[in-house]
């Protein structure tokens, strides 16, 4: 992978302003790693709205259809008159529909999360263990030395506590 300029910050606002500067300077693949979600990062780094809600919605619809067809289909497949009720009894089958709708909505949300967050990580990605403890980390992938120096300069100006280089040394 290309060399990554990594800046560790002690406070989220500093990291956020550093990231903003980096994006303005043309480093669009900047990432901000943090132990807690940082307010205002979506506007700075331009993350698009998640596609998860579409997964949830279609999951629920699919689940509801599946639930009702499971209940009604099996009732018609093997006729089993009980209690004088019609073969396709709507109130009980609606409950099955509801439960299956929620089940598939939940499963679809999880799948949607993994797909849109691109997890699980199959290959090594740039990571700093302090990011899960108390440091706010800005990472910038750079393809050549000149970019790396520029990025490093921006990070230094933004009061980074520590600057590291991760990846191949250029």
């Amino acid at each position: 992978m290309a060399e990554n300029a990594v800046g560790l910050f002690a406070r989220p606002e500093l990291a956020l302003s550093a990231a903003e500067e980096l994006v303005d300077a043309g480093f669009t693949a900047t990432e901000l790693m943090s132990p807690v979600p940082v307010e205002g990062v979506e506007e700075v780094l331009g993350r698009n709205k998640s596609a998860i809600k579409r997964f949830t919605f279609f999951g629920c619809i699919f689940g509801a259809c599946f639930g009702f067809s499971l209940a009604a289909g099996t009732a018609v497949l093997y006729l089993h008159p009980t209690g004088g009720r019609p073969i396709i009894t709507v109130p009980p089958f609606l409950i099955i529909t509801y439960e299956m709708g929620i089940l598939f909505g939940i499963l679809a949300t999880v799948i949607g999360f993994f797909i849109s967050a691109r997890l699980p990580a199959m290959s090594d990605r740039v990571y700093v263990p302090e990011a899960s403890v108390d440091k706010f980390v800005v990472t910038v992938p750079c393809s050549n030395r000149e970019e790396f120096d520029r990025a490093e300069g921006i990070l230094r100006n933004a009061d980074a506590e520590e600057i590291r280089a991760i990846g191949e040394v250029l």
């Binding site: 018609v76 006729l79 089993h80 008159p81 009980t82 209690g83 004088g84 009720r85 019609p86 073969i87």
Partner: protein, 257 residues
């Protein structure tokens, strides 16, 4: 006929309420409480015919008796004006049976003869049907009961024996009904004649208080009984809308004004 055609036909037949009226037979029993003496011969006959387990003294005293038909006793009044009323209570084979809808594995259903059937092999023993039955006529095998020798020699080979964990109840002696229908079929697709099939309790009752037959046949004895004694005829717990198939004829009370 393709699968879809079959489905459509079945769906049309069963989707409207009252589809039971199109069934082949509608087995009904009428119990004349005026003639019933409470002798419990029906209880014994049922036990003999249907391989009812003998639960033993200890389990009986714990309340685990299995009696597909039982004589309920009700004391009315104070001494010295006590009256004892009794009523044989058996599975009412309700048309709107609450027990059928609740079985999660479909072990009980309403068959083409209008009987509420219990499929022992499918039963997993949730006992919800026993809770849902307002007449409390469903019994559970709390363990695999055994018959001491030589009682096992008198078991009826036409009826299965039930293992532990299975619900059972009165079947209107479905084995006899099945045999009668088979005989009728062998004789050339005629209907079962009235009086040709009698459950064990009906057959044994010494005062002929129990009458069994097909209420779809207006000439059957049971239909005529119900029609003639309309003023006395009632069904137990009718307000619960279970549509039972057992009709009771009220006892004629000489003292009542």
């Amino acid at each position: 006929m393709s699968l879809v055609e079959q489905w459509r036909k079945s769906w049309e037949k069963y989707s409207k309420p009252g589809y039971y009226d199109e069934f082949d037979y509608a087995w009904t029993m009428s119990i004349d409480l005026d003639k019933c003496t409470g002798c419990e011969a029906c209880v014994t006959a049922c036990q003999a015919e249907n391989n009812l387990p003998i639960v033993g003294e200890e389990d009986f005293s714990r309340g685990r008796e299995i009696k597909w038909i039982r004589i309920e006793r009700y004391w009315v009044g104070e001494y010295p004006n006590i009256k004892l009323g009794f009523i044989p209570m058996l599975c009412q084979h309700c048309d709107a049976a609450p027990c059928e809808t609740v079985c999660p594995v479909s072990a009980t259903y309403h068959n083409q003869d209008g009987l509420n059937t219990q499929i022992y092999n499918r039963c997993i023993g949730t006992r919800a049907c026993a809770v849902y039955c307002p007449y409390e006529v469903r019994y559970f095998n709390f363990t695999t009961y055994h018959w001491d020798a030589p009682l096992e020699q008198q078991l009826n080979p036409d009826v299965t024996v039930r293992e532990k964990g299975v619900m059972e109840k009165c079947t209107f002696c479905i084995q006899r009904i099945r045999q009668a229908k088979d005989r009728a079929k062998d004789d050339g697709r005629r209907r079962v004649r009235d009086g040709e099939v009698q459950p064990a309790c009906v057959q044994t009752c010494p005062s002929q208080a129990l009458v069994f037959g097909d209420r779809k046949d207006p000439d059957s004895q049971v239909s005529q009984m119900i029609a003639m004694e309309k003023s006395r005829a009632y069904r137990v717990l009718e307000a619960l809308n279970t549509s039972p198939s057992v009709v009771y004829l009220k006892k004629v009370d000489d003292d009542a004004s």
